[in-house]
């Protein structure tokens, strides 16, 4: 590898254009080509020299990342004045741009308004250095505590499960050593050779006393009555690194639990168990592949079972089905491979029972939910063609003689579910004019309702499209200056030449006009300023899950602001615009942000309640457009 790189090392020099551009920037025009070449070679050499020196400082600083200060010290070593003002702890956010046949990396310098800095509250003082001791090893055995890495990394669990016949593998060794102590490694090394003969490694699943206690505590808390404890236990399952030895127990616990509670129609317990599944799936250190044969049936049961609760007319078992369906979709996405074919097998199962005429409404609902969570493609190929049939069936129940209340409720839910999932897919797939008659012809009974849903979905999609590429910026001041990432005109004040930093049009997210003043308002209100470029992207996935509460509030606020949306996307508006959304006080924001990520760990019952809260909140948001 090194040999391949070497010839390249020899030739890497800065392009002569750079020399030219730099010369221009300091007022030397018309630099000759030869001088450029000579300069660039010299400069490249010096830069390499400095970089080599800087590496020394990196090594002695016991780091593996070169920092700007390393370069400063290297310059100092050469008696060159360091570059002041490039303070960056580790990461220099170079942006990349290309266009007009040129590619360049540039350092994005934001123009900062001093008054902003003065008025923002001081950031928290960083924590002081502190010392913490833990046992890395006790007489040769590494204890499984949070301070230590998980005893068996995920990759290892994977090799263990996918290549069980590969004689003795690291996992085996690891288990042996963690239990017996690594002291006997040399003896074990000999044992290893014997191990090669064995076809399948013995897998020990003994739990230590602490692990047994932990298991007991966790399972009790998960299905117990105290919600706080449960949250803690689920948190522990989702984050603790050392659980892999308990995994078989957990998976059996869940599968047995579901089996028993389905018979007993104990909805609450089923929900708790599904949340455990979710927590296990969220744990990044666990490799669940081995236990899917227990988990998937349990989850599928919770999706399609005929009856999940004692009073199907009152209890909200639909939420459990939705939640379980989402889990199913998630595990399909994570675990489906060409070998196990989970997704296609699951799809087949759902479709088969859905097609069956005798299937009850509850199961029907589950099947549809399960299918539609699998993604728009599945909806398109499997659900849309059957909308007419399904519509007729629903019509039969709602218009026909009242057979039973339960059926009616079931049909209702199925209808809503179909509308919800199909609308967005149709919105994307079908041409624009939404003709009610056309829809009736295509989809039968459900047609008209679908039509109105599609219109809504389109509007929503349009709004979200505008948010793609948006840059958000929270401003506490009434006068926001929006000179973030300006194209040439804005940034040419300083020493840099506009000719080098030519931002291609696709990147000009912001207006070239600095800061259209938005309406002044009480300082406590937060503004989210979004620059939009309509139609550039049609991605639906705007609501990126970021940890910052600001972005998530944006998303939630806009997603509920449908009337406004029409206004924005109706005509062909100019390319750039700002939407300034003033948001209601933070207390209500808090509750909103929970809605966004589809895989958030809130219980399905709570979920519905929150959506309601959301809707009631939305009128509180007012919008203005400066254009």
């Amino acid at each position: 590898m090194a040999e391949e790189r070497r010839p390249k090392q020899c030739t890497v020099v800065l392009p002569t254009e750079s020399m030219k551009a730099m010369a221009e920037s300091i007022g030397v025009g018309q630099l000759q080509e030869e001088s450029c070449a000579a300069l660039s070679e010299e400069v490249s050499y010096r830069i390499k020299e400095i970089a080599q020196d800087a590496l020394k400082f990196m090594h002695h600083g016991k780091r593996c990342k070169l920092t700007t200060s390393d370069i400063d010290y290297a310059l100092k070593l050469k008696n060159v004045e360091p570059l002041y003002g490039f303070q960056s702890q580790e990461f220099i956010p170079f942006r990349f741009a290309s266009g007009g046949g040129r590619e360049l990396h540039f350092y994005e310098e934001k123009e900062v308004d001093l008054s902003d800095i003065i008025n923002t509250p001081l950031p928290r003082v960083p924590l002081d250095v502190s010392l913490k001791a833990h046992w890395l090893s006790i007489e040769g055995v590494q204890p499984a505590i949070p301070e230590n890495p998980p005893p068996a990394p995920k990759e290892q669990q994977k090799t263990e499960s996918t290549e069980p016949l590969k004689a003795v593998k690291p996992g085996q060794e690891e288990e042996g050593s963690t239990q017996k102590g690594q002291g006997a490694t040399s003896a074990e090394a000999k044992g290893k050779k014997d191990g090669l003969m064995r076809m399948k490694p013995r897998s020990t699943h003994e739990l230590s006393v602490e692990q047994q206690l932990y298991y007991k505590e966790i399972t009790e808390a998960c299905v117990g009555s105290c919600e706080a404890k449960r949250a803690e236990a689920l948190q522990s399952i989702a984050t603790d690194p050392g659980l892999y030895q308990m995994l078989p127990r957990f998976s059996t616990f869940i599968s047995e639990g579901v089996r028993v509670n389905v018979v007993q129609n104990n909805l609450a317990l089923l929900i708790y168990l599904m949340r455990m599944v979710k927590a296990l799936m969220d744990n990044p250190t666990l490799y669940l592949e081995k236990y899917l044969h227990e988990l998937i049936p349990a989850v599928v049961t919770c999706i399609v079972s005929k009856q999940l609760c004692l009073r199907p007319d009152v209890d909200n078992h639909w939420a459990l089905r939705d939640f379980a369906a989402r889990l199913m979709a998630q595990s399909c996405k994570t675990f489906s491979t060409t070998t196990n074919n989970i997704q296609s097998r699951i799809t087949k199962t759902f479709t088969k029972s859905w097609l069956d005429d005798k299937t009850q409404w509850t199961t029907r609902y589950g099947c549809i939910a399960g299918l539609s969570e699998l993604g728009p493609d599945v909806i398109k190929t499997l659900i849309l063609p059957r909308l007419t049939v399904e519509g007729a069936r629903i019509k039969a129940v709602s218009d026909g003689p009242v057979v039973s209340n339960i059926d009616k409720i079931g049909a209702d839910h199925v209808q809503n579910l179909l509308l919800k999932h199909c609308a967005s897919v149709i919105a994307k797939a079908c041409p624009l004019p939404d003709n009610v008659e056309q829809y009736r012809a295509d989809y039968g009974y459900l047609g008209p309702m679908l039509c109105s849903h599609v219109v809504k979905a389109r509007a929503q999609a349009a709004l979200q499209a505008q948010q793609v590429n948006r840059t958000t910026l929270t401003i506490t001041q009434p006068r926001p200056t929006l000179t973030v990432s300006q194209s040439g005109i804005g940034g040419s004040g300083g020493s840099r030449t506009p000719s080098i930093i030519k931002v291609p049009s696709s990147l000009t997210l912001m207006s070239t006009r600095p800061g259209t003043p938005t309406q002044p308002s009480p300082p406590a209100t937060k503004y989210i300023v979004m620059a939009t470029s309509s139609g550039s992207s049609s991605t639906q996935q705007v609501i990126t899950r970021t940890s910052s509460s600001v972005t998530s509030t944006v998303a939630s606020a806009t997603s509920t602001l449908q009337p406004l949306v029409k206004l924005e996307s109706g005509g062909s508006r100019p390319l750039q615009k700002y939407i300034v959304v003033s948001l209601p006080s933070s207390s209500s924001l808090e509750s909103k942000s929970g809605v966004l990520p589809p895989s958030s760990s809130t219980s399905p019952i709570l979920l519905e309640a929150r959506i309601k809260v959301d809707c009631s909140d939305s009128p509180g948001a007012s919008t203005q457009s400066p254009h």
Partner: protein, 751 residues
Amino acid sequence: MAAVQDGQLNMEVEKDIKTEITNDGSGNINANSSSPGSTSSGGKSKSPAGSGEDQQTLLAVLQFLKRNKLTESVDILRREAGLSADADDSPVSDSAGAGSGGVPNVSADGGDANSLLSRVSIATPVAPPATAPPKATGSMASGGEDQPDVNVVLSAYSQQGDPVLYPLYYNGLKKFIESVLDCHRAELSQVFYPLFVHMYLELVYNNHENEAKQFFEKFSGDQECYYEEDLRILSSMSKKEHMKGNETMLDFRTSKFVLRISRDSYQLLKRHLQERQNNQIWNIIQEHLYIDIFDGMPRSKSQIDAMSGSLAGEGKRDANKAKVFYGLLKEPEIEVPLDDEDEEAENEEGKPKKKKPKKDSMGSKSKKQDPNAPQQTRIPLPELKDSDKLDKIMNMKEATKKIRLSPDNLPSICFYSFLNAYQGLTAVDFTDDSSLIAGGFADSTVRVWSVTPKKLRRVKSAADLSNIDKESDDVLERIMDEKTASESKILYGHSGPVYGISFSPDRNYLLSSSEDGTVRLWSLQTFTCLVGYKGHNYPVWDTQFSPYGYYFISGGHDRVARLWATDHYQPLRMFAGHLADITCTLFHPNSNYVATGSADRTIRLWDVLTGNCVRILTGHKGPIHSLAFSPNGKFMASGATDGRVLLWDVGHGLMVGELKGHSDTIYALKFSRDGEILASGSMDNTVKLWDTLKAFDDVELDDFTAATGHIHLPENSQELLLGTYMTKSTPVIHLHFTRRNLLLAAGAYNP
């Protein structure tokens, strides 16, 4: 011959250290000539290449003095050296012709001048400039002045052949070497790298830029992978102008690349080159290579690979011939007044049996003098204070409770994570009794923590101290200011990242070395800075207290290791010889020797008494970042950026083991208190434990290998590895065995 061509002697002054580099390796013989007070210039020798050069150096010094109008010193020097006044005026051009690589030409005159020189360097005030780091050449600031000097160095390259023929020459040699018998091929292949470098530099020097580039591209792929770093530097040099002030280039030029080749192989090579009339290559071999010819079997590829990799080839065989007193000093006999009490306590616990034999063994050990140990008074050591004696007693008591480690009984590891260090932790040290931890940080601070319940307290102010009853029994307790008690203290004073840190054995002082070029001594009584030792001028990468206190060693970017005493503001010794930054320093347990590891990928062992380099250990393929001596002083371990730990027999100057397993730089190495286990900590977030007893046992040392240094290393890293302990995301940068053999590790958590 080394670079003395004409009278451009300013260069010589700056190169002073460099020239002796070539000699240091071979010459440890004239220890007698340098008085204990002399500086490192004592490292001059009567090595084969030495004498003419010494004269040159002397002339250089004279010239320098003259230029700086230090006529008085000139006179003194001249008188002492017995040189005629005109000697220095006539440019000496003979030496280049005289030296043909290996002609022993020891003239009494040379040795004489040499010893005088060493005296001169103390006597005259010029010593500091004369020993100024060779770095000065590298700095661009002194631009105009050093240009001619570089030219002197480079002028050797001016004689040239047709640039187009270079690849042909090289290829011809390559073909020849590929065609020779297998047993010779590996040995002769060693010639490729130095030859390649010198040919390339010659091309560059003579402005054949394109040819040089082609040459590089064509043949750089053939070189051993461990030279990659150097090749990268080399590749960036494509113009004559670049060569000026480039340290790597100067290193190649001024130091001869040392190769060890068996006589048979050498004859083959010589015959081939003479037959072909291949003068170009022959010249380079004559001028820039030192071929250490030995009789016997040619070495195998693996043997060569084990030893090569350093910037200037292997150490010469005679460089490692000097006797090293690696034994420990006799422990002072201390009556243990508290012993009875202790024994009673032990009796109560019902373990009297265990203790007695141990104690006896310890007593007897301290009585008989180790034949390999240096004289007790070989170097003056500080006298033991009462507090030191108390500490010794504590130490002995703790030692009796020490856990016997073995492969079946591994130590527990306690890890101290520095949280919120924001990547800034650069150095860590523990006190010997493990009560304090100090950390050096990139923000120039030094922080000290107490890890015992005993808090850190400052001594009261002078005014308050005068009020204390000095006769009281607990006066030591009374002088402390209770109000300042805290778990940690911050020491401010440096103006750059703190790269090295070391506690004094008595826990009263702390040393820190920094990017700002100073070494600072801090008091742990008042938590203030006591002294700033200036001298390095460039970043000081490491500093280390002697195990007996008082002395300390520092080494840094200027390639010179300095030995200091805490009460002198100027260094006592300067150890020059490394060709690149000194990256780590360590005292031998008997305090008579100092080991330095360097970015030139060699380890050198220096005699504190004479200032001589007594060992050059090559074999690492990357800058060395950690060193450790075994507690008995017999062995040494070293870790480098290549992720390998090498084990050395100090007495024989031999590599005795190679421990592979780490995947990144090893920043910490430590032997357990009894030396059975070696712990290594690395950037790859692991601590590994190695069975050193087995490692040292597995090596069979017969007379032949001991004599030639050609050792077959057993490939047994995996068997020696006793355990690997991953941290979550914390590079391990320091390790320490407590007196009871608990392993402490430290590093900054890096989320």
